[in-house]
Structures are given as structure tokens and as C-alpha cells.
């Protein structure tokens, strides 16, 4: 059940260029959240009103983990959070990634930069079921990579400039990889819109299910404002607009369109 509550910052560390990793103690959310879900963080002040949505990057005891990139004034404020800071949150919000009943399914996680956040949580859930996914993570350059090693997955790191891992985009290397996979694949993706669009141009075999976690400007996170819509195809949503906050943020790639 969604709740509005106060959390306490346990730690807040820089892990890469402009990328931070925060631990917030908030038992009401930590005990029930699922990978793919997000929280809204409220900020004091009367000039910028909207809360900001953040994917939950994992759970540690009574705390949730937030992996974030500093891109505006609110994330700049976050980067200065000290241990003990009280934070107002709403969550858990949205739907989640799912683990198939079919034991033969191979899991692939595909992240662009800080888009690794919800996939790190999903990787943890898979690990609980003794499933080790292939985890592709790409960034422009080494300093923008939120993680570079991982024991719970087969991690494949890519950088556009080759400063760490494989040289090239994460999509290019993923395409090479997927060609050789024969088992059914659950592909779970989070990254910039350009990465999602690129996926649309790849022709996948039928046994690949693709779930993408989307991000949109949101005012409420609850489905009240109807602002965070994504265009859908004729499938599940019948060509109507779906709400990223409530119907998503995780969608089947075939159900959504990106050409806006």
C-alpha cells in the first residue's frame, strides 16, 4: 500500500562523475517495494513544486537505495544530503519487473548509465532465486559508469570511448550477444529514450520478451494529474495514452511508442 512518510538518510556517497548512491531508512516502503517501482521525493521550497521520481535501486534492511545523477537543482540539493537528514517520500509507486514461471528463461538486464538503478534491484531479486542475469551497462565514458563490477551478475561494461570495458554503445554489444542466445530471454531495460528507440529498430526473435522502464515528467506520481503519458500501440492499451506513474513505469516494448 502506498504511503507518504518520512525517511532518514543513512548514507549518500558519490560513486561516479555526478552520480550518487543514497541509502534512506524508510521501513514502510522498504518492506513492500518491488524491483521497477519508484518513490517520489518531496523537496521543501515554493518555486519548484513537483516531487521528483526515483527508481528504487535496492533494499537493505529497513532502507531503500537510490542511485541518482545530479542534473538539476533538486538533485544538486540531494547531493548535499548528510546522514540523519529527514526526507519526505511517497511510495512505493508503479508496477514492477517480473520473474517468469518458466525456469528456462535467461535474464538480460540492459542499462544506460544511471538507468542501472531499477535493474540493480531486479538483479538482487533474481539472485534470491539463484538466477544470475547478464547485466549490460553502458555509458559515454568510464567516469559516468555507476557500477563497474558485480558478483550477482555476469556484468558486461561498455563505454562509447572505450575507456572501460568494451568500446561502443551498449546496444551494439547487446545485439552481438543476443544473436547467439537460443533460450527464451527476458530482456529488462532502463536508459535514455534514445536507447529505447534504438531497441525498437532491432528485430528480435519471438522468444525475447522486452520490458522497458520509462521516465517522464510527473507532477503527482499517483495518476491524478494525467501528465506523464506515453503513447501506446494498438495492443494492450488500445492506442490510448498510458500513465507512466500508474500503468508503468515498466512496459512491454511492443506496447509503447517513442516518436513524439
Amino acid at each position: 500500500m502506498k504511503c507518504i512518510t518520512i525517511g532518514t538518510v543513512q548514507s549518500n556517497q558519490k560513486v561516479a562523475d555526478q552520480i550518487f548512491f543514497a541509502t534512506i531508512e524508510v521501513p514502510e516502503i522498504a518492506r513492500q517495494c518491488l524491483p521497477g517501482q519508484f518513490v517520489n521525493i518531496y523537496f521543501p521550497g515554493s518555486v519548484k513544486l513537483f516531487p521528483r521520481p526515483f527508481s528504487i535501486a535496492g533494499v537493505s534492511g529497513k532502507s531503500i537505495l537510490i542511485l541518482y545523477k545530479v542534473i538539476g537543482s533538486q538533485t544538486t540539493l540531494m547531493s548535499r544530503w548528510q546522514t540523519g537528514r529527514q526526507v519526505k517520500l511517497l511510495g512505493p509507486l508503479g508496477n514492477s519487473f517480473t520473474i517468469s514461471e518458466d525456469k528456462s528463461v535467461e535474464y538480460v538486464l540492459l542499462a544506460g548509465g544511471v538507468g542501472a538503478a531499477p535493474l540493480m534491484f531486479f538483479r538482487d531479486e533474481l539472485a534470491k532465486k539463484k538466477i544470475k542475469p547478464h547485466f549490460f551497462i553502458g555509458a559515454k565514458t568510464k567516469s559516468e559508469l555507476p557500477i563497474i563490477e558485480d558478483v550477482k551478475s555476469d556484468l558486461i561494461v561498455t563505454t562509447d570511448d572505450g575507456s572501460k570495458g568494451l568500446k561502443g554503445t551498449v546496444i551494439e554489444h547487446f545485439e552481438d550477444f543476443i544473436k547467439n542466445i537460443r533460450r527464451p530471454v527476458s530482456l529488462n531495460v532502463c536508459g535514455p529514450d534514445s536507447m529505447m528507440s534504438a531497441l525498437k529498430n532491432i528485430s528480435f526473435p519471438d522468444n525475447v520478451t522486452i520490458n522497458v522502464s520509462l521516465e517522464k515528467t510527473m507532477a503527482c506520481g499517483l495518476g491524478l494529474c494525467q501528465g506523464c503519458v506515453v503513447k501506446t500501440t494498438s495492443g494492450k492499451y488500445n492506442g490510448h495514452y498510458a500513465l507512466v506513474c500508474k500503468d508503468g513505469p515498466v512496459f512491454n516494448l511492443n506496447d509503447v511508442e517513442f516518436d513524439e
Binding site: 500500500m1 513544486l49 513537483f50 511517497l90 491524478l224 494529474c225 503513447k231
Partner: protein, 304 residues
Amino acid sequence: MNDLSIDLGKGLKLANPVLTASGTFGYGDEVSEVVDVNRFGGIVTKSLSLEPRIGNPPPRIVETPSGMINSIGLANIGLEAFLREKAPYLSQLSCKVIINIAARTEEEFCDVIKALDNEKWISAYEINVSCPNVKEGGIAFGTDPDVLRCLTRKLRDKTDRYLIVKLSPNVTNIAQMAEIVQECNADAVSMINTLYGAAIDIHTRKPKINTVIGGLSGPAIKPAALAHIIKAREVIDIPIIGIGGISNGEDVIEFMLAGASAVQLGTVNFYNPCAIYEILNFIEQYMTQYNLMSLQKIIGQALV
């Protein structure tokens, strides 16, 4: 115990003056996990049209200084689904339920009212003649005095139920529009709907809203709303339901002093869904501080 109740006339009594604004609170059920909907004096549901509307393409919202611009385009599930899916929840609420209606034509307004008039749990209709974000109908009904007169008369003939007309600030003389609504025997006006607003991305040079111009709301428009209410109060006697950037208890009192008998919370529902609790606490304290037996006594008492 302080008496927060408000009598809006014609049998419509609210437990307190705080309502939700249409389109900012869904149908109440979406938010019922985080806030006790019955703490409101009443809720005004998302604009309802005869047929479902998918709404406008994205981007639909943008944050602006102390406010936001929206262009949702009256996305809603339509009358049939509303009665099937939402009425069971709404009809069991103890707070008042006011249905906001939007339409492209006079006939469509009449058809929706006809279908809702048998639903005993509905306390009032709020007629949306002021949506700035749809091509047909919408704001056209609220900006032409003759069209507004014709529509209000027609709807008054159709129903005995409490009738509120929601006014647009995007007119030269809002007092004139309020006067027309009163002349046509509607029971109250609610004001203001959103102001025209625009925002442009300086890097891509694209508008930040799909329709280029959308509706501006939030604390940024509060002084404009108060000014319009003061102007309307000078010329009408029917109740004014104040809307525009209200975010706390102080704002509610300010609107009531300006002449509002009740208020609606809009944009604040997005950034503080539990504002109602703080607001009711503040009103109680204010009444105690100024020894007010009834909140009704402060309506229009600003020394203007």
C-alpha cells in the same frame, strides 16, 4: 468545537469549506490510500464527458516558477464507464460529491446531466465552460457572454440539482460573466480556472507543452485568483467557490475574506496530497485565535 461547516444555499451544506478541484484528484479512489477523502468538505471529480476522451499527446505538463502548465485535454473515461466503475466508490463517501461536466455542445451537457440526475449521491454539478486545452467547446462557452447565457439557461431548465458554473479568467471582464451566471439562476460560481500559460525550451526551441499554450495553475496564480474573486463579489450575491493556487490554511482564510464561501485545492494535491489535514488544523486554530464561532462569518469580510 469550532463550526467549520458552510451553507452554500439550496440545501448544499459542507462539513468544511475545502473541496478538491476537478482534474487534480481523479475520482478520489486513486488517492484513498494516502489521504482520507472524507476529510474534505467535498470532492469535485475529473471533468466527465459523454464519450471517453483520450486527451492530448505529451508533453502534457511542465513545471514553472511556483506553478505548472498543463494541457491534459480533458482525458476521461466517459459517462458509461464512470457510472459502472467510479459511482460505487463515490456513492459511499460521506463527503459531498460534485461532478464536473465538460462537453463540446449544449446537447452533450444536457445528455450527461440527464443521465446523472437519477444518481441520488451526487450533490451538485460543476459546469466546465473554461477549459483552455480543447479545440471545441471548452473555453468557448466561458468567454462569449451570449454563449454562456444560453448554456446556463438551458442547463438550469434541465435540472433542479445544485448548479455551479466554473469561470475562466481568460476574459476581459470576469465580473460580467459571473453576473450572467447569477441572472440565469445558477446556484454558484467557481473561479478561477487556469490562466493561459506557455513555456519554451531555449535549446530545442520547442514549446514545453504539446498545445503550445496550456493552463497555468499553482501558487503563481493566487493573487490573480483573489483579484478576480474580489471583482466578482462586487456584482453577485450567489456563493463563490474560490480556486487558484491555494496551498495552506492561510490561503483558505484569505480566499474566504476576499469573498469565497468555499475553496478548491488543485495543484497542491500533486505536491502535498495530505494538505487537507494541515489546512483543517490551521482553520481550527485561526477560529480559536479570533474567537470565531462560525467560519461562515468571515466570508467577504476583507476590508476592501
